[in-house]
Symmetry: C2
Subunit: 113 residues, 2 copies
């Protein structure tokens, strides 16, 4: 069932989307709640700078993983939401999250290899 042929590796396709210091946490937020405003995301991820938040959102948008909706009003209102396509990343994020939990356990209990 696991036909992971190294000659035919498509792992990088999704990796390229996920790589970026803040992308996983942005995606987790938008998977949990869409849409979210720029300021809501900023508040949810306090340590990110505005520049980085903007940049990572733009990248995800250009890959059609998220959508950006601008409301023509003052003050500006911009909402981000996950696309249907973006939702297909959920199994990957889930697998990674689950692995991360196990990994933490392991490093705490320091199981022998």
């Amino acid at each position: 069932m696991t036909n992971l042929n190294p000659e035919f590796c498509e792992v990088n396709e999704s990796l390229e989307i996920l790589v970026g210091k803040w992308k996983p946490i942005i995606l987790l937020n938008l998977l949990a709640e869409s849409p979210m405003r720029f300021s809501e995301l900023k508040r949810a991820i306090p340590k990110i700078t505005q520049k980085m938040l903007t940049k990572q959102l733009r990248e995800l948008e250009s890959q059609e993983i998220i959508m950006r909706k601008v409301y023509a009003q003052v003050p500006p209102r911009v909402e981000y939401s996950i696309t249907e396509y973006g939702q297909t990343l959920r199994p990957i994020l889930n697998a990674m999250h689950q692995w991360g939990l196990k990994h933490k356990e392991r490093s705490i209990t320091k199981l022998p290899v």
Copy 2:
């Protein structure tokens, strides 16, 4: 079932291991065949430089994802193999690979969002 709480994100744990330009392809090779010699890996991944191969292998080794075994002989023989722990990454790599295949289909057929 999908308890992907953004407040409690463990996605980066595995991401940190997978990130590195050559790590996924190295892991796929060692998941398909272990052990492999340094030169076999080099041949399997022609575009990688020796320096990068060494570096990425060392990093994976320090994370206990792979094992390095040196044979005291001339010429030197060094074998790399995936650890049991490293094998737990397979579901993630599989999910990513599957996603990559779908992604390729999508970008070829240019489905509307």
